[in-house]
């Protein structure tokens, strides 16, 4: 093997091949997450939530899979039980926030312009426009997009990813970064399964397991009020778990974020 032209470098050993620094130059090792600033802000947001005992849930999916409809049904079902608040993220319009406010629930719309995802700073700005006192559950409805939102921690405790049966049951295989991040996967619009019989819920779940994700899979139709009880029970359990964590000064990050980091041999 040749040691001079670089042809023996492979993706596996490339990081070991430090180029000798030129005179007047130094190479410094950093080993910091590229999105550290976002993650720091997300941690700060999480402190806001934990201080008030709020459970924060990030809803992600493709556009049109029923995030807002799910929220409308959920907020109606929980209105006598908990105080909820909603942050809506869209490229344009106040439409979704207005739908939530029509349910008598506090909502703040983030209009991202052209940005394809929410980040921790946008959420932090939104929090300062909201009254968080007495809020039990904060839902953050991310921009409809199965790609970018998965890479940005917002300070939420849980990620919930929706997959409507009008989409393909292989979506988890096609968008692994997104579905790997799910703490729960909701198969929505299940009332349409009768006509959309090429969607196999068992296959969708199998694709999720292929991503090494143990998240519960719930099937529901918010519009037809099918399967909502399991989702509402899951929410109650998660709020109870959040309160138990807060009581002992602990918090929780979504399953994905930060999990991998502790296994990475950053010293390599």
């Amino acid at each position: 093997m040749c040691d001079t032209c670089g042809c023996n470098l492979t993706p596996g050993n490339k990081h070991l091949a430090f180029k000798p620094a030129a005179k007047g130059a130094t190479a410094v090792s950093v080993l910091k997450g590229l999105l550290q600033k976002n993650d720091d802000q997300a941690g700060h947001n999480r402190e806001h939530f934990d201080k008030r005992g709020i459970l924060a849930i990030n809803l992600m999916s493709s556009p049109g899979s029923g995030k807002t409809a799910l929220l409308e049904a959920t907020l109606t079902a929980l209105k006598d039980e908990f105080t909820c608040a909603v942050i809506e993220g869209d490229l344009e319009t106040e439409n979704d926030a207005e739908r939530i406010r029509a349910k008598g629930v506090q909502a703040h719309q983030i209009v991202t312009g052209t940005a394809c995802h929410l980040d921790a700073h946008l959420v932090h700005d939104a929090l300062h426009h909201m009254d968080l006192d007495g809020v039990d559950i904060l839902f953050i409805e991310n921009v409809g997009n199965l790609v970018c939102p998965a890479s940005f921690d917002l300070g939420q405790h849980l990620n919930v990813t929706l997959l409507s049966v009008a989409e393909g049951d292989d979506k988890p295989a096609k968008y692994p970064v997104m579905f790997r991040a799910a703490d729960a996967m909701l198969l929505t619009k299940t009332d349409l399964l009768a006509v959309l019989d090429d969607f196999d819920p068992a296959k969708a779940e199998a694709h999720l397991r292929d991503l090494a994700n143990p998240a519960p899979v719930m099937r529901l139709s918010a519009r037809k009020d099918l399967g909502m009880d399991a989702w509402l029970a899951w929410l109650r359990d998660q709020l109870a778990a959040q309160r138990a964590r807060v009581a002992i000064g602990q918090s929780r990050r979504p399953a994905i974020q930060g999990d991998g980091m502790k296994y990475h041999s950053v010293s390599a």
Binding site: A27, V28, S29, L31, L34, N38, F152, P176, G260, Y263
Partner: protein
Amino acid sequence: MHELAVAQALVEQVDAVIDQHRAGSATAIRVRIGPLAGVVPELLATAFPLAAVGSRMEGAELEFVHAPIRVRCQTCGAETEAVMNRLICGACGDWHTQIISGDELLLESVELETIPSLTPES
């Protein structure tokens, strides 16, 4: 799609490293990236010069270290390579695995040009 936002975060971080070491500029930047980070190296390479315009790293070389996807099986303990949408154990086929490499998005190192007046010849 979101690579410009990532490129801007990279510029901020490198800027902080330049400050921290009282250097003049950065000439090379090495980023370790795994497929599961959700960031495409080629797109980041395109976005970086746009984010770096007018900064102290304009023209710096952006290098990528590609981290392979590896999983550790919680059932049989094997460490195997995996592909992006099949993170199951390569030895026993179980899906109860943990990612040990492949979701990194790390600023690994920066090569800095020092300011001559601050570093007298020795």
